[in-house]
């Protein structure tokens, strides 16, 4: 076993690495299936760890997950029970059933494609005025079939991205009865993107390296939102629906 193991262990390491590199090459071969220029509002600069020199851009979208809950409007919106059924959730148990809350809250996350629409200037409206949100990317639909969604949303302002979705059982707690109040409903939510953090390639590092603050730190400085985003980046998606950063450039606010 010893001789076999001495050969197989490094062979396994090399095989796994070759597989990863080939998969990345396959994703980037040919023309990107989607390309969109986004700013710091949608691609937040993050560092994975205090001492780290790695630079990552994190995709931000609305409605975002914050402080343990989603910032939703009241009601299920477009991500209703019928859409949850399309995604593959079994919603047959009536919401009036006493065990409905526990049943639906225990449902695990599923994979789906999320449709993100870039709300360009003039359409931003409440998004721009809401201090909690900054991203102009809004989740407007979800589904399991990429081709179907692309056909439905062919414009360049739509990004179709692999995501992780969750079923949410929304109910108000009645403190008197110690039970969920009547009027509970189900809705879905895009919990995270499958690739939420995108690595800045070494060729583009020099552009963003000059920025000493991460986006979270920048937003904490006075007047940051008024000054606006500091950079923009071209985001590409390849054949395996995996992203990469094409190019980055600094905007006027970065030089202020």
């Amino acid at each position: 076993m010893r001789r076999v193991g001495i050969v197989l262990a490094p062979a396994l390491v090399l095989a796994a690495d070759i597989f990863v590199v080939l998969k990345a090459a396959q994703n980037r071969s040919g023309e990107p299936i989607a390309t969109m220029e986004l700013t710091e509002r949608e691609l937040r600069l993050v560092r994975p760890q205090r001492e780290s020199t790695a630079l990552l851009l994190e995709l931000a979208w609305e409605p975002a997950w914050g402080w343990g809950k989603f910032k939703f409007e009241d009601g299920p919106g477009w991500f209703n029970q019928a859409k949850l059924g399309e995604i593959g959730y079994d919603c047959r148990l009536p919401l009036s059933d006493p065990s409905a809350g526990a049943h639906y809250r225990a449902m695990p996350a599923k994979e789906a494609f999320a449709v993100l629409e870039l709300k360009v200037t003039g359409e931003e409206g409440s998004l721009a005025n809401d201090h909690a949100s900054w991203s102009r990317l809004l989740v407007i639909d979800a589904g399991r079939d990429f081709a179907g969604l692309r056909k439905k949303y062919p414009d360049a302002r739509f990004l179709i991205v692999p995501a992780v979705v969750r079923l949410l059982y929304i109910a108000k707690w009645d403190p008197d009865t110690h039970k969920d109040a009547p009027g509970a409903y189900l809705r879905g939510a895009v919990a995270e993107m499958q690739v939420g953090q995108i690595s800045v390639p070494p060729s583009q590092r020099s552009v963003l390296q000059a920025l000493s603050l991460t986006t979270a730190d920048y937003l904490a400085t006075p007047g940051a939102r008024a000054r606006g985003p500091r950079y923009s980046a071209v985001l590409n998606y390849g054949r395996n629906y995996e992203p990469w950063i094409g190019s980055c450039r600094l905007l006027a606010s970065a030089r202020q």
């Binding site: 490094p10 396994l12 390491v13 990863v20």
Partner: protein, 357 residues
């Protein structure tokens, strides 16, 4: 028979000789056995010679203090391995941004290979395998870092295949050098891989595998089957690890689902699922205790007893806590504990009776 398996048996023999010597002193003190000077000298010389031979050939612990120090060394090599893993990860993150893409990939690929070579070198130089164990943990950590960071550099979708690769790597390290730490890490990765497959096949996201405890059921059963069916005769020193990990997996599944039945795949009402798991939990704990006593596996008996007690106290809490005053609840639990003690004493004496020739 391989040298390392012989080492496992050599250590068992050294332990038996040590116990025999202690018992001999006791027997002579109580007058049950009298050896004359010649017999004593012959026996002592033989035992000394055997122990010296075992120590020379297999580097086994021949005294109680040596054994205690060995445990300390095992703990130190585990902690050292984990600390070195953290050092490798943080060192890479510190300099990642300063390297070009080819250099990043080269460093990531080279690190586990260098650590593998170091593990092999240490295993050839030192029979006790403490350094090899430490370096194997670093090699395992470097391979985890390798796939994680390569995936991050190329923005790949997280894949359960990484768990399979890490699991196989852990097993290769374990079986090549007979090391238990990489075996434990590899088995955890493989159990998670199997659970991720079930999660994916059921239509859920593979990373949600921990949300349905039953995803780990097959892994737990396979782990227990390995020592029970003697599937690894050549690696008998790993048996305790398989049985401990397997039992822990099954007990955790039962414990979680006996409390939160909604997380089960079973198409039944939550309360029905919870009752099924409560009943099977008590039955499983009882069976584990019985098997552990019958096969004289102390770790199996201990796990069964701890799990049985946990299940029992959880039931007491659900049945009585809400309507009983706090002092009465703890009094009842205390009295029941005394009753359990008496029961286990009786069980112990029965086992002792059965062991008499």
């Amino acid at each position: 028979m391989s040298e390392v398996l012989a080492k496992h048996e050599a250590q068992q023999r050294a332990d038996r000789i040590r116990a025999f010597r202690e018992e001999l002193v006791e027997l002579e003190h109580e007058g049950a056995l009298r050896l004359n000077v010649a017999q004593r000298e012959t026996l002592e010389s033989y035992l000394q010679q055997t122990l010296a031979d075992l120590a020379k050939r297999f580097d086994v612990d021949t005294t109680a203090s040596q054994k205690q120090i060995s445990w300390g060394m095992r703990i130190a090599s585990t902690l050292g391995g984990l600390a070195l893993c953290a050092a490798v990860v943080l060192f890479f993150l510190r300099f990642w941004g300063l390297l070009g893409l080819p250099a990043q990939v080269a460093v990531l690929v080279a690190t586990p290979l260098v650590m593998l070579a170091a593990t092999d070198f240490a295993a050839r130089r030192e029979r006790t395998l403490y350094y090899a164990s430490l370096l194997s943990v670093v090699a395992f950590g470097a391979f985890v870092l390798n796939l994680n960071v390569l995936g991050s550099i190329f923005n790949l979708t997280p894949s359960r295949g990484a768990l399979l690769a890490w699991g196989l790597f852990g097993l290769l390290l374990a079986f090549t050098y007979r090391l238990q730490l990489p075996l434990a890490a590899g088995l955890v990765c493989l159990a998670s891989y199997l659970a991720a497959c079930f999660s994916s096949w059921s239509g859920a996201h593979w990373l949600s595998f921990a949300e349905k405890p039953e995803n780990f059921l097959l892994s737990g059963l396979i782990l227990i089957a390995v020592p029970v069916l003697h599937l690894q005769r050549r690696y008998a020193e790993f048996d305790w690890l398989y049985s401990t990990l397997g039992l822990l997996t099954l007990f955790l599944i039962v414990l979680i689902l006996s409390e939160w039945g909604a997380f089960s795949y079973l198409p039944m009402r939550r309360s029905t699922v919870e009752v099924i798991y409560q009943v099977s939990g008590f039955a499983g704990a009882g069976l584990t205790l019985w098997i552990g006593i019958r096969w004289r596996h102390a770790s199996v008996v201990n796990l069964g007893a701890v799990f049985f007690a946990l299940l029992l106290y959880l039931r007491f809490y659900h049945w009585w806590w809400d309507w009983m005053p706090g002092y009465l609840f703890f009094l009842v639990v205390g009295l029941i504990s005394i009753g359990l003690l008496a029961l286990f004493r009786k069980l112990r004496s029965r086992v002792s009776e059965a062991a008499k020739p």
